[in-house]
Amino acid sequence: MAENADRAHEALAEDFERDLHTERQILNMGPSHPATHGTVKFLIELDGENIADLDIQVGYLHRGFEKECESGTWYQAIPYTDRLNYNSAILANIGFCMAVEKMLELETPIRCQWQRVLASELSRIGDHLTRCGAACLELQAMTPFLYGIEARELIWDLQEVLCGARVTSNYVRIGGVKHSMPDTFPAQCRDHIAKIRELLKDFDGIVTGNRIFVDRLKGTGVISREECLRYAVTGPILRSAGEPLDIRKQEPYLTYDEIDFDIPIGEVGDNYDRYLVCVEEMHQSLRIVEQCLEKLQELGPGPVDTMDPRVRWPAKGRVFNQMEEMIQQFKSVTEGPRVPIGEVYFAIESANGELGFYLVSDGSAVPYKVRCRPPSLINLAPMPGMLRGALLADLIPTFDFINMVGGECDR
């Protein structure tokens, strides 16, 4: 009797530990899934709870950015660049305008350059806050998300003071910026920086050492430095894999060569490293903003637009009283600037990585070709390799920290 019971018990135990073969299952995730902050569809082949294969289908937000740009004037393309990455619209503005300026061989005034740096660093903080905050939200943590969004709100308040709009700023012009910063801006900005630092401290306190957060991020979505280079991955993902590549340091544009800031890098290239790199980048950006404010106050008021007649709009007072200026205004508005024949590639370091513009001009007032090199799209391509064999739950933080932005990815 006892023997029989033992045998039955053994068989049961064996059954319990046996690796049960289950049929592979196809799971459709998206295009609008509550746990992904982006419109994208994952076609997942699941083996139990593990991802056997993954196909990412992008393009749900395709609106023909390039086609649209190729049918308007050079100026009319700028508002479209706002809508690429709506978390950091100013960065795309700057990338496009500087590419056109490179084609025109145009030098922008020093105040404009410092203001552009200031605005782009504010945008970068806003973008990283969204990335980290939304990642927490999708890992079921509401409170840090609210801290992040509160800080982003402060950034948007500053952008509103700077250019009148909160999200899609349309702040940058070819050869300058919309207008110089108001006198009240530096004081308000310093005040907000202090508040943002406090919020970042709160965020850090609740998240960085949090057991659940760390467990879900550490060791998930790993990508090596070599793999990053093979897939042309740039930005925080590449830096978290240990390669200190940042266009602001490698090919300094604007006034980044005069600014003191560090490039944080990670070691293993997992999601946790990406999170730490983003947080440190926010602190570095705040440092840069402070230096910009100091420099701008030292420079005092002055022109923020180039005097180059090819792109400059005449002063309003003269437009209404002088014939020539009236004509120039008319031509500027209806036709826009003509850009010499040629081609150019110009890249800036956006919050997601290398944001490049390849432009071709046939000498007319309409761009012949506008290509945006979208970091979101290119960073998303190696994701199947990062997740093969991982748990389905790892997809969420990995996708969050890749920070695919639909507007930019799908254009």
């Binding site: 992008v58 393009g59 395709h62 023909g64 390039e66 086609k67 649209e68 190729e70 049918s71 490179k102 084609m103 061989e105 280079l229 093979r230 897939y231 042309a232 740039t234 390669e243 590549l245 490698q250 090919e251 040629g342 081609e343 150019v344 590639y345 890249a347 290398e354 490049g356 390849y358 071709v360 012949y368 070709k369 290509r371 090199r373 799209l377 290119i378 998303l380 391509a381 190696p382 799908d410 254009r411």
Partner: protein, 162 residues
């Protein structure tokens, strides 16, 4: 001023002078126009040559010069992390052939970018294992970034698949 990137062009001309048709470095962008049939050789040299070391294919796109022959120009941007250098390689593809060799074996980043060029311009990449449309859907008719595709053109409605 440092001659930005032209060292790369010099090395390219030395090693593969028969494949390179024309070079320039206007506005500081080192550019080489090459014979489209040699793109894989050029890319392999750019990646593997110890003097070049272009580890990254950062961008790949196409331009439709509708009034010229050959019509399409496939444009590659390479970046060397080790040497902090960029180079642009361009290859012309005729409209009746509309095909160029894929770089996917050398640079996996070409995967999605080649799919996008196929999607938008209809240039085929020979050797690409999975040349599907990337941004648009299977039933889309035509290639919208071609200059002869009118901006206002409507697409037929596509019903549910099953």
């Amino acid at each position: 001023m440092e001659d930005y990137g032209s060292q790369a062009l010099r090395r390219l001309l030395e090693a593969l002078s028969d494949a390179v048709l024309e070079t320039h470095a206007k506005l500081g962008d080192a550019t080489a126009q090459i014979d489209a049939s040699r793109i894989v050789d050029v890319a392999r040299l750019l990646r593997d040559d110890p003097d070049l070391q272009f580890e990254m294919l950062t961008d790949l796109t196409c331009v439709d010069y509708i009034e010229q022959e050959p019509r399409f120009e496939v444009v590659y941007h390479f970046y060397s992390v080790a040497r902090n250098r960029r180079v642009r390689i361009k290859a012309r593809v005729a409209a009746d052939v509309c095909q160029i060799d894929s770089l996917i074996d050398l640079y996996p980043s070409a995967d999605w970018m080649e799919r996008e060029v196929w999607d938008m311009y209809g240039v085929r990449f020979e050797g690409h294992p999975d040349l599907r449309r990337l941004l648009l859907y299977e039933e889309f008719e035509g290639h919208p970034l071609r200059k002869d595709y009118p901006k206002e053109r409507r697409q037929p409605l596509v019903g549910p698949r099953n």
